[in-house]
Amino acid sequence: MTLEPPVREALVARLTAMADDELILGHRDSEWTGHAPILEEDIALANIAQDEIGHALLWLEARRELDGSDPDALVFGRGAGDWRNVRLVELPKGDWAFTMVRQFLFDVFECELLSRLRHSRHVPLAEAAAKAAREEVFHLRHSGLWVRRLAGGTAESARRVGAAVDLAWPYLPQLLAPQPGDALLVEAGIVPSPAEVGAAAREHIATTFSELGVAPPDVPPNPGGRERHSEALVALLIDMQAVARADPAAEAW
């Protein structure tokens, strides 16, 4: 499928945004390795982190096929202002409740997105989505189990779930919102309608929260597009890129 330049440009931007979401989320998940509440969960969350980073690679490889860009150069060379992830994933990992609630919100969205993206007219994207969708089934089981158990566990765990939802909720609209190039991509049959994905995700979240007696706060969305970031991302990137940036002449790591 040959792409018209505006469509290709929109797809490059969309793939970058998807990769950035996964990479930053996977990075936050990986911060728990060695510090999880119990040994088995150290192992489980490390797997999820690898999956997310693997998805980032899938999207960046798909982008490389379009514009020849190098995944490592993008990940280790861009400053905060050039990243296009949603702010939800750059928020610090917080406590276990926050990590699981954030993961749950993202997993619900991803499941709705990927199940539709598997039918993309852009074959490399459809294939990558099929691979990622498989892993998302497991992610949603895991984060869904945790949100359910913590909401219905002890008074303290329920309180922490409430606090986590309060913190995450203003950032959810950005995740579900259309991106600048989406209209072109939807028309070309490359990505599903963001309105459709967003509505399905919202319904899934609402149903789960209602079952669990979790009431999201009535608050305005955190404003701004994907080019706007918090200081948390600055600190994250300084740490993440330090080794690579210290030796720019290095050809291999």
Binding site: P37, A46, Q50, V75, G153, W253
Partner: protein, 319 residues
């Protein structure tokens, strides 16, 4: 031959039959008769091994967020994940001997349990991650291959599973160091510096000299340990020195030489004072390691309680 120490005098006929089983190469399984000393030694060895894996997650875990390429990032998360997994398999083996995992963990966090001294050294650069994979895991593999022959079934099985996974750790570490040794001046210097700090700790990791290891003869008799510390250390040195030299690195031991008669590499004297200081808790980062584990455990308390409460409620609700 009566068993010693704990004052337990084992039934001589039982003991003879037990030792005959081991002689025949049979595995002792949970539920089988075993001398108290065998059980006690195994609990000690297995739990120390488990603790080492858990604490061992920390020195490299700190560098996960800084891995300088996507591939290295994935690899390092997988490696540290494996270390958690290895701790898990080992705690399981200890549990088959009737000990409770919560109690083992409490012993570690309260400073009552030992773990491998090598993890009480700091990781100061990215190259340390590679050097740990190559040398520390290289030493561990030698040890684990030997322990896979252990007469106690659950420990042997844990070792076989761990050996299968550890080879990846060793190879990716070697790949990293070879890359840096052949890379930019900065990368080469980083690799050399890492070697200088990890060479002796890796040698010491294989334990005191045989002359200072009182447990070894009995452990050998019961096929818990089938090689001595010095034997394993020699294997480690013979394997790794030529490869390090090939890579253009310089081993920080001015006495290192080949013994013409045997063909073995002979290393210089180990500074055992440092080893004992580190084992006893005075190493560079002993306190930090345990503090990190304590924090993770404390921070996780409400989580463990919450799931237990949920499960209890669900069980009560089920007819």
């Amino acid at each position: 031959m009566a068993a010693e120490r704990a004052g337990v005098v084992e039934d001589p006929a039982r003991l003879e039959a037990f030792e005959a089983r081991i002689e025949r190469g049979e595995k002792i399984e949970p539920g089988d008769w075993m001398p108290e000393a065998y059980r006690r030694q195994l609990v000690r060895i297995i739990s120390q091994h488990a603790h080492s894996e858990i604490v061992g997650m920390l020195p490299e875990g700190a560098w996960i967020t800084r891995a300088p390429s996507l591939r290295r990032k994935l690899i390092l998360i997988a490696k540290v994940q494996d270390e958690a997994g290895h701790g898990q398999y080992l705690y399981h083996a200890a549990e088959t001997l009737g000990v409770d995992r919560g109690e083992l963990i409490a012993a570690l966090l309260e400073g009552r349990a030992k773990y491998s001294s090598v993890f009480n050294y700091p990781t100061l650069t990215w190259a340390d991650v590679g050097m740990i994979g190559w040398l520390v895991d290289g030493a561990a593999i030698r040890n684990q291959l030997m322990l896979a022959q252990c007469s106690y079934g659950p420990y042997s099985r844990a070792m076989v599973r761990i050996c299968a996974e550890e080879t990846f750790h060793h190879k990716q570490g070697k790949e990293m160091v070879l890359t840096y040794a052949a890379g930019t001046p900065s990368q080469r210097a980083m690799a050399q510096d890492a070697l200088e700090r990890w060479w002796w700790p890796s040698l010491m990791m294989l334990g005191p000299h045989d002359s200072d290891s009182p447990n070894t003869p009995q452990l050998a008799r019961w096929r818990v340990k089938t090689k001595t510390n010095d034997e394993v250390r020699q294997e480690f040195v013979d394997e790794h020195v030529p490869e390090l030299l090939d890579a253009g690195l310089s081993v920080p031991d001015s006495d290192l030489h080949v013994d013409r008669a045997s063909g073995h590499w002979v290393h210089g004297a180990i500074d055992w004072d440092e080893f004992w200081a580190v084992v006893r808790g005075n190493g560079p980062v002993n306190a930090e390691r345990l503090a990190a584990r304590r924090k993770a455990h404390e921070d996780g308390r409400w989580v463990r309680e919450a799931l237990a409460a949920y499960a209890a409620r669900a069980a009560a609700a089920t007819p």
